[in-house]
């Protein structure tokens, strides 16, 4: 893994971003006060289960939230010195596809089925510079397909999406994203819909083109395995907020947040060379339409204490006395947890013996109450 010199100015700086969706069953707080930075040329992984707000964060940055249901309720998104939230729609439009590019999850549905691959490539080139001739755009389209490793590029240009395999379509999507040398590529679960054998190829391709073009990459995934090999830094999201952030090496070696611990214990680890059982995380993510008190992960957390149920922890540097690694830009290890796991607990995937989770205790309370109630009824 290569590390760039930390730059003075971050390429992207998200400050207190909040996104809300209004739906028939209430207002969903999809993203709550998310703050992070991304340096030029950096590769950042955002990890979390579906519905944790990672995709919504990326759509908010791109200005692609589904209108009118979704809207940015607060915060700033500074990209290359400009606040995207306050940008005029037309200026934002021009930025998309040129400086900001996105690769979506499902290549099967992300390409237009009724127009040629060539037209889909050429239109993005010409949309931002009408002076480019058709011939030049065609030439550029051809180069792009070759760059992303599509054989018979000339023929493929004339073809349609349905004639390509899923992996090939994702390569086309990457070619479209690369068309105008973007400064930032957001890849939202780019390999989830693909065969395992193809996944590695696509990840490798993204890494290679990012290195060649110098673009920063935000890689969004639910799979820690995907980000392990290719990102410099990882951010873990849960219930619309960032719960832990650290360099990739640090996060894998010293997970602090119980949720991160859980995520790590739920994927097979070949690097540790042991045969520990995979442990699933119990329970479901919280209902985001409700106002909640306390840490959103508390109901599923074996480490939970009374404090966790009453007070919401802020993202803060990992406390003194616990070993941290700082390398790369903004890579200080930070976690939002009242009762973070120790290295030993992280390794065993459960709190040290003697700790009784507030949840377990409360459930026992309720069971006792129910038993008492049953005893009263004749």
């Amino acid at each position: 893994m290569m590390f760039e010199e930390p730059a003075d100015e971050p390429l992207l700086s998200v400050e207190g971003l909040r996104v809300e969706f209004s739906s028939s069953s209430g207002r969903v707080h999809a993203v709550n006060s998310v703050t992070f930075e991304l340096a030029p040329h950096e590769t950042l992984g955002i990890v979390g289960e579906s519905g944790c707000g990672k995709s919504v964060t990326s759509l908010a940055i791109m200005g692609l939230l589904a209108k009118p249901a979704g809207k940015i309720a607060g915060g700033r998104v500074i990209f290359d010195g400009t606040d995207l939230v306050t940008l005029k729609p037309d200026e934002m439009r021009d930025l998309r596809g040129r400086d900001l590019a996105m690769v979506f999850q499902d290549p099967m549905t992300s390409l237009n089925p009724v127009i040629t691959i060539e037209e889909q490539l050429v239109e993005v080139i010409r949309a931002h510079d009408s002076k480019v001739t058709k011939a030049a755009a065609h030439q550029r389209a051809l180069e792009l397909l070759e760059l992303v490793g599509i054989p018979n590029a000339k023929e493929r240009l004339r073809g349609f999406a349905h004639q390509l395999s899923g992996g090939m379509r994702q390569r086309v999507m990457i070619a479209i994203a690369l068309a105008l040398h973007p400064k930032l590529i957001i890849a939202d679960e780019p390999t989830t819909a693909l065969d395992v054998t193809i996944q590695a190829q696509i990840l490798e391709l993204i890494q290679r083109v990012a290195n060649e073009t110098g673009a920063a990459v935000m890689l969004i995934t639910h799979d820690l395995g995907v980000v392990a090999g290719m990102t410099q830094r990882i951010q873990v999201m849960y219930a619309g907020r960032i719960v832990e952030t650290a360099t990739t090496l640090e996060l894998f070696a010293h997970p602090r947040h119980p949720y991160t611990v859980g995520l790590l214990r739920s994927i097979p680890r070949l690097d540790l060379g042991d045969d520990r059982a995979l442990i699933p995380i119990d329970g479901l993510p919280p209902d985001m339409t409700r106002e909640r008190v306390g840490c959103p992960f508390a109901p599923r957390c074996a480490w939970a204490t009374e404090q966790c149920l009453e007070q919401d922890p802020e993202l803060a540097p990992v406390t003194a006395g616990q070993r941290t690694v700082s390398s790369g830009p903004g890579a200080t290890h930070r976690v939002a947890c009242w009762n973070p796991a120790t290295d030993a607990e992280g390794a065993q995937g459960a709190p040290a013996s003697g700790h009784v989770s507030a949840i377990t205790a409360a459930t026992a309370d309720r069971a006792a109450a129910a038993a008492a109630l049953l005893a009263e009824t004749p």
Binding site: A101, M102, F104, S110, P113, V124, F160
Partner: protein, 337 residues
């Protein structure tokens, strides 16, 4: 593509046999026969038998079918039992009137329905969308004959703006060079007579609105839901992520894909119009196929009903074929398989 069309055309042959067999069995399964309606109820059994023999109704059904099919392949669709005019002659004379009416109705339906549906979809949930949605539902709920009467009363009887019967004004129309019965085309291209053309258009307006309102409402509804569906597609999000202008997204990505279901429904509605013109033609004294077949049904004129229904059914199948071909043209997934 050519192979596809040829294969579909070949499939028409068994359909033709099936259709004609079904129609003959159906018509003969009904009680009553044309002779009793031609000769009246108080006629002698001898005259009834002679009439039945003359029309070939005394033969067994399979023989009648064979005779009929034999005639069909020699271009003989039979002769009307009431006025002794060959069915084909009458059809050819009346068909242009129905074609003009149907095309005008579809022009109304597409010309208003598609833009209305798009506009409603783009403003989903707005007052405009709600009004358009309720309006198109009312459009579907209005019986053609009631709408026809209403239009005729308001614009003809009350306001005296438009004619309410027939296809042209006898005092204006010049028949010296006429012959095709496609009056719009004839007056404009052959006669080159603008007042005459405008007169034909004026006669066409009310019947076309009456006949076109239901397809208009249907087309608007399908367009709205097709556009809404496409707007939610991932590739539209991709197009937005590319930073394309809204205009380009609408044209190349939304409409181009929404056209698929819209084209299908337009074809289906056109097919239905051919048979559905019965009421409109009756109300507006329009000398087309619909009013003719209606009269034939009232007269129990077997052979006319039989052949007329067969022709309309074949036209319906042909229109559907055209739709399928244009669908294949619009959709590369079918074009290249």
């Amino acid at each position: 593509m050519l192979k596809y069309i040829v294969r579909r055309l070949l499939l028409l042959i068994p359909i033709l046999f099936g259709l004609s067999l079904f129609i003959i069995v159906f018509v003969h399964a009904l009680p009553g026969d044309p002779c009793s309606s031609i000769l009246g109820e108080h006629t002698s059994p001898e005259r009834l038998a002679a009439c039945r023999q003359g029309l070939g109704l005394d033969k067994p059904l399979y023989e009648q079918y064979f005779d009929y099919m034999n005639g069909l392949f020699h271009g003989n669709l039979g002769t009307s039992a009431t006025d002794r005019v060959p069915v084909l002659t009458e059809f050819v004379a009346r068909f242009p009137a129905t074609v003009e009416l149907s095309l005008a109705a579809m022009a109304v339906a597409i010309g208003i329905g598609v833009p209305l549906g798009i506009a409603a979809a783009k403003r989903q949930g707005s007052v405009f969308d709600n009004v358009a949605t309720v309006g198109s539902l009312i459009g579907i709920s209005i019986p053609i004959f009631f709408l026809g009467l209403l239009l005729a009363y308001v614009f003809g009887v009350w306001l005296h703006w438009l004619p309410t019967a027939g296809r042209f004004n006898l005092r204006i129309y010049d028949f010296s060079k006429a012959g095709t019965n496609f009056l719009l085309w004839e007056s404009l291209v052959i006669n080159r007579n603008i007042p005459e053309f405008l007169d034909v258009v004026r006669h066409l307006i009310l019947p076309a609105i009456a006949l076109g309102t239901i397809p208009l409402a249907v087309v608007a509804r399908i367009t709205r839901s097709a556009v809404l569906e496409v707007l939610n597609e991932d590739y539209v999000r991709t197009a937005r992520a590319k930073g394309l202008t809204n205009r380009r997204i609408d044209r190349r990505h939304v409409l181009r894909n929404a056209m698929l279901p819209i084209a299908t429904i337009i074809g289906l509605q056109t097919g239905l119009l051919l048979g559905g013109a019965v009421l409109t033609e009756t109300i507006f004294a329009w000398g087309g196929v619909g009013s003719w077949l209606f009269q034939a049904a009232v007269d129990k004129d077997f052979i006319v009903i039989q052949s007329g229904t067969l022709i309309l059914a074949i036209l319906f199948v042909l229109v559907n074929l055209t739709v399928d071909v244009s669908y294949a043209y619009l959709n590369p997934r079918i074009r290249y398989s």
